[in-house]
Symmetry: C2
């Protein structure tokens, strides 16, 4: 067999195996797999995809991301052809306990990330390619298979812009233009030139090709390899369900097994047993950044410092202590204070501009390669990337996010800039850590702890200055809390900006003979169950105070900590309940009923 | 004065007033206002913007959306020039209680929507333009001022694609290319041709212009008006802080008042008092769709029906009963069953393809004009548009969202397709309503109730069939619940798919002499506090069961309902606590510990 015959045969095998896998599962997306089979056959057998199959964690390995994650039958068929899984495992597709889930996840190596929410694979691929170029400094390539339906996701165009801006010629996107979405034709159909014009306008080298002409596909990959200074996109005209007349280019054939898989397999020329020996990458070691040591910053008790300032200083210091820490920001680095990291470690800072989805995706891509990314923007604007955070949890990604300007206490900018749902939305991310420190010393220690934390960690920082109450040598830990003030008449549990308010209220109440305990619950998830239960036991009544909507934040975390106890402890939640406007921080905290006066009044009631 | 002198003078007035407003506030974005002042002066005084200032709700009015909401000083200065506010109110900018917030909101008419989270105004403008073309069928135009920094948001390109696909020549975008973001130059800088190529590749008519040459700007607006069949974008080269040397085109001048406002006002030629008589639109009435009457569908008790199917049938029926109901879907209408609405009312159905941000934004735009949009996709994929939903609440928008395929009970597709944080994230939206019906009759009644509901309503529907338990003539209401089974040993509170499981568990337990009450809490927010408190009082122990992460969903809503009571009621939450994979619905419900066996076992413990 010559090369083109081999490609064609491998493409048919990938189709047959896709049909078999979906038939065994009774569900799945064989037709979306069949359209891209020839593209992937040439990628594997043409020597383009470089994987050390004996060491799937080899840092020199290429990366292959199926942005169209529903083409998982094709992906798993590729793993079989490469000898990474066997045929028996292929047929466990979508079954309970199988590593081969409905959409790929890192459960099955060498899969880097979970896909299945469209439009995320390419932005993540940009992150891996950025890591390859600027962090690892290794010649691995990143290949990303996109569906044409997902080109309608804005996040794809964030990725296009960032890849070109960063000159990522180590990235190749392959768009499987099979024209048919789930229910109808896409907006662009088979107008490949329209995709080409868009890609070129965003700064990419673009190639249009017949995705079933294996020689043309090979030439396109060669052209991609030969292109320097910018990424390449191969825009391939394909047919959904290619090779089986009953489904080929037919509407209504999305996301279901073929009606007659046996006939389809026969039509595709039957089962084959082609093994592909993937090109093995040259041995190479990732770059290591020099460190200069040093220690975390600290502040004296009584100083007034914004926790966002402490975040920036701590992150910059951590960057000097650890070479694996990197920072990303959504073009607000002088607000979040990640600019302090940029100034200290410019080669490990990534400006992501106003593109929060791409920012999270880039961070996911970097942690794929073992880097320790911290991404920052206004806490409210992480909402823009919530689906990316959700998927990052499924990717088992380790991410550290810092959101500044939380709550009504930001003041005049108004509600569009106020995070009031951040604690709730991040608490609901699987395996997440949610932190809301009240002072600079807490913040610095938590930043360091986040670097070692698995999963998604979110740190909420404040625009305004708060009083340092935590001594620099006191241990602050994820899952911890501080009793700021002893008392047993009532326990006021606060976090962030409301700690200062709670202390002020407690002092006022003390003058009235009411000794309130104040707990600073800087760790919202996990929350310090023991301290909260002790407060309930010893004080009998709890008041929670948060600069956040009433749902899903500190108050709910406290309720959860007490849920299963037999003891009766009424919990009253103070939280933001009306839509705020503009005003001074003090005016808005008062209007929301979460300032010292409101707390004292609530206790008296 | 000739027209061009008048434009120039008005532009200077808008600058002066922007400087004055920010100076009075002590914060704000005057330099971002000054760059676009000439563009807006010509829009107003050139007779392009048509507003009936005597009736700001006139359906014939044009719409002006400041996608760059931080240019609010410019916007409010325009309102003053148009006679909508006076100078005294202008100077209340950003003050507590003022209608003139840091970023525009509908508090100040005729503002349609809140902006301030970048990249949202243009997609919303697409929605208003779609309403103008396909629903109202009125000749009003939609003008949208965009910043250049926000062109990095993917949502902008979703808007570009949809506007062109729908041939929205009633929409004009104006990009204020002042080149400078918050901390640095944008990725594109002043390369106007690059923006032009992108816009053209997305199907728009694009004009580049010097944004301070008022005659050229006027010619560009004329060209926009003369362009049919596609939207026009005016890409204007401007200088941030134009007109004041101390800030003009200078970095580091973002988002702060000028250091010396008096000198700046003098440099701009001093205060002026130009009043603009805006062009008044011709009288016109919006189109009204015929209705055919009919009633909501209903099902017999005992039938097995998927609630997503009930959603589609109910929505189609509602569309026959009410002409103001419209539907949008993210290219999964055969999964959400909004296809039933499309088939019945094609002229009120909007296919939004795989672009969830644009889908929500379009719905927001349509409700601006009084339409009653229902938008649907997989519940998990609303996470993609979470920031749009957050902002929609600030816009005081009335939106109805239906998310299908919730929870592990979807089975084989795996976690990327499973909504497990939807209840939590929607509960944390201000003023929201969160519904999780367990059967078809509940669903149909709730769909009708949502149409009349203010704020953001979210309905969670299920992929699989559930048993109809609610009689068709039983009232189902927002804030309600159902006691499915009486008992007093323990109360099992469930919603959606777990109601069937809870009933099965209760029947098993009854055989063991344990009479469990089962409450179907189909309304999660507001939750039926009375029924839950009664269950606590009468049963003494509560078990909540939800196909959702443990944080922020049904369990937390129940805890909140009990929080302030004096009574001690231990609440045990059954919820999904480990990352699911693929498998059958039954296998995954069992693994998550939320099936009938798990419920019964938990009660026994």
């Amino acid at each position: 067999m010559d090369a083109s015959e081999r490609f064609t045969e491998l493409g048919q095998q990938l189709r047959v195996d896709s049909v078999r896998a979906a038939a065994a599962a009774g569900s799945g997306h064989p037709t979306s797999s069949m359209s891209a089979a020839d593209l992937m056959a040439v990628l594997m057998d043409g020597g383009y995809l470089a994987w050390n199959v004996d060491d799937l964690k080899d840092p020199a390995n290429d990366h292959l991301i199926f942005s169209k994650g529903h083409a998982s039958p094709l992906y798993y068929s590729m793993l079989k052809a490469a000898g990474i899984i066997d045929d028996a495992e292929l047929l466990t597709f979508r079954k309970f306990g199988s590593r081969l889930e409905g959409h790929p996840t890192p459960k099955i190596p060498p899969t880097d990330v979970a896909t299945g929410s469209l439009g995320q694979g390419l932005p993540i691929a940009v992150g891996v390619a950025l890591a390859g170029r600027r962090l690892d400094r290794l010649p691995y390539r990143v290949w990303c298979l996109c569906g044409d339906s997902e080109m309608a996701e804005g996040s794809i165009w964030e990725a296009f812009e960032h890849a070109a801006f960063n000159g990522l010629d180590n990235l190749t996107a392959i768009i499987d233009v099979n024209r048919l979405g789930q229910t109808r034709e896409t907006m662009v159909g088979w107008d490949l030139d329209r995709y080409k014009a868009r890609a070129e306008a965003f700064g990419w080298h673009a190639i249009t090709v017949d995705g079933h002409d294996v020689n043309a596909v090979k030439a396109a990959y060669d052209e991609a390899l030969a292109t320097s200074g910018r990424p390449t996109v191969i825009i391939a005209r394909t047919k959904k369900g290619k090779g089986v007349k009953a489904v080929e280019d037919q509407p209504g054939k999305h996301g279901k097994p073929l009606d007659d898989p046996e006939a389809a397999i026969a039509e595709l020329g039957g089962e084959r047993d082609i093994s592909v020996r993937l090109r093995r990458p040259d041995d190479a070691k990732p770059h290591v950044f020099d460190t200069s040591g040093g220690k975390l910053p600290s502040w004296d008790v009584g100083e007034k410092v914004a926790t966002r300032q402490a975040y920036g200083e701590a992150l910059a210091a951590l960057g000097s202590m650890r070479g694996d820490v990197v920072a990303l920001d959504g073009e607000v680095s002088n607000s979040t204070h990640s600019e302090l990291f940029r100034e200290a470690h410019e080669d490990r800072y990534f400006e992501m501009f106003i593109a929060e989805q791409q920012m999270i995706a880039a961070a996911v891509g970097m942690q794929v390669r073992g880097w320790v990314p911290f991404a920052s923007t206004f806490a409210a604007f992480f909402a823009r990337a919530y689906d990316f955070v959700r998927m990052a949890a499924i990717s088992r990604a380790d991410l550290r996010l810092s959101g500044s300007h939380a709550g009504v206490s930001i003041g005049e900018d108004g509600p569009s800039q106020m995070a009031l749902e951040d604690l709730a939305s991040f608490r609901a991310i699987h395996g997440s850590t949610v932190l809301a420190p009240s002072d600079a010393n807490q913040t610095a220690q938590l930043v360091a702890a986040m670097a070692d934390r698995e999963g998604i960690s979110f740190l909420r920082t404040l625009r305004g200055k708060t009083t340092v109450r935590t001594p620099a040598d006191e241990q602050v830990r994820i899952g911890g809390s501080r009793v700021v003030r002893e008392g047993s008449a009532v326990a006021i549990i606060a976090c962030g900006v409301t700690v200062d308010e709670a202390v002020e209220a407690a002092e006022t109440l003390a003058g009235e003979g009411i000794e309130a305990r104040v707990v600073d619950a800087y760790s919202i998830k996990p929350i310090d169950v023991e301290t909260i239960r002790a407060a309930a036991r010893e004080c009998g009544r709890i008041l929670t105070v948060e600069d956040h909507w009433a749902e899903g934040g500190l108050g709910d975390a406290v309720l959860e900590a007490l849920a299963e106890t037999e003891q009766s402890t009424p919990v009253h939640k103070l939280a933001v309940r009306r839509m705020p406007g503009s005003g001074s921080p003090a005016e808005l905290l008062h209007e929301a009923g979460i300032d010292a006066d409101s707390i004292a009044a609530a206790v008296r009631r």
